[in-house]
Symmetry: C5
Subunit: 99 residues, 5 copies
Amino acid sequence: MNLAKVMGTVVASQKEESLVGLRFLVLGIVDGNGKATGATVVAADAVGAGVGEMVLFASGSSARQTQATDKRPCDCVVMAIVDSWEIEGDEKYRKGDDE
Amino acid sequence: MNLAKVMGTVVASQKEESLVGLRFLVLGIVDGNGKATGATVVAADAVGAGVGEMVLFASGSSARQTQATDKRPCDCVVMAIVDSWEIEGDEKYRKGDDE
Amino acid sequence: MNLAKVMGTVVASQKEESLVGLRFLVLGIVDGNGKATGATVVAADAVGAGVGEMVLFASGSSARQTQATDKRPCDCVVMAIVDSWEIEGDEKYRKGDDE
Amino acid sequence: MNLAKVMGTVVASQKEESLVGLRFLVLGIVDGNGKATGATVVAADAVGAGVGEMVLFASGSSARQTQATDKRPCDCVVMAIVDSWEIEGDEKYRKGDDE
Amino acid sequence: MNLAKVMGTVVASQKEESLVGLRFLVLGIVDGNGKATGATVVAADAVGAGVGEMVLFASGSSARQTQATDKRPCDCVVMAIVDSWEIEGDEKYRKGDDE
């Protein structure tokens, strides 16, 4: 998994039928300090995450281990909204502090 | 998943029998601003995407979760054609605007 | 697998139900000399690893081959705590020496 | 999948028993213009590809979806020999032109 | 798969029970010319490879397709010891020549 900030949303009406109802989020991956790495990925949303929130996402076949994504052609899923994290005892992020 | 622009097509007559009938697209991966990252990948087409269109593609075992790719030696599939996306409320792409 | 140092922990109360009880660690990946590569990843903890410890982690579907992670949307797991390693006969790390 | 040029072959007599009979090719990955990216990978051959030919290869679990590689510890397979490809209507490669 | 040189070994006594008995090797990945790329990975040993030997390793779920690694949280396995390889007819490595 990795930490990422939800940057935006993707609309795609013409798609594999099994994907109908899934919400697609553009994620900006961040490092342990919460700094953007510059890499982006598109993930299905399994937890109701909003733009601006810090989240955890899982990739590969593990991204299909949620009810929303089971047996779908989806290789990335947001499966947790992050409250906070710390690095060597130093809090790097707390939800709400940057909002 | 990631965002990509369909750049071209690949013809390969000598192949695994299970691949007969699949259409192979060359994709140029783009970032959240729609700018080419320089990375390319070849994907099977599951939605009838055309050259120049923005699409979503899935990789790995998830790429086999479509009728077109089930149980085939295919690790990348275009499973949606993108209508639009936005980053922090700013629309970065809308289908038709660049055509 | 790869070698990494446990750098911190992530708290996420709003998550896929199957993830309740899992502990999430921020890992800093190191090279053969024990030097940080700068890359970070978030892993589930299957062995009770603590901040500062050197560990081995597995990625992808293999990360679900532990009791803690079976059938969960988890693509990275710490599955061993490293005692020591050597490169061409030269010991690069021994647990306790840096603590 | 990606495009690659077959650069050479690997001989390995001491191996997992299930791999006996597989032919291993060294591939040089190319971009959409057919230019070498510098990255190499070793793939099993499922289509009888020869050194110098342009091919398509699949990675990960998808590489086991051929008769030659089924249930084997093989994560990369050449599953098609490329005849030609074009980018935005411009033919970038045609088999035979460079031989 | 890729080519790598066995650089060292890792000792980890505290680990997932299913991993008991597996030998962990530190691999330095090499390119088609046998030159180190600088990337390292830790693999389980399925063929009795020794430090200094050139090997082939497989990653991902394919790394679990050996008797030693079946159903274990292991994403990388050495499944062949390389005798030799050649690039465009030029022998780049032969076992014994560098020992």
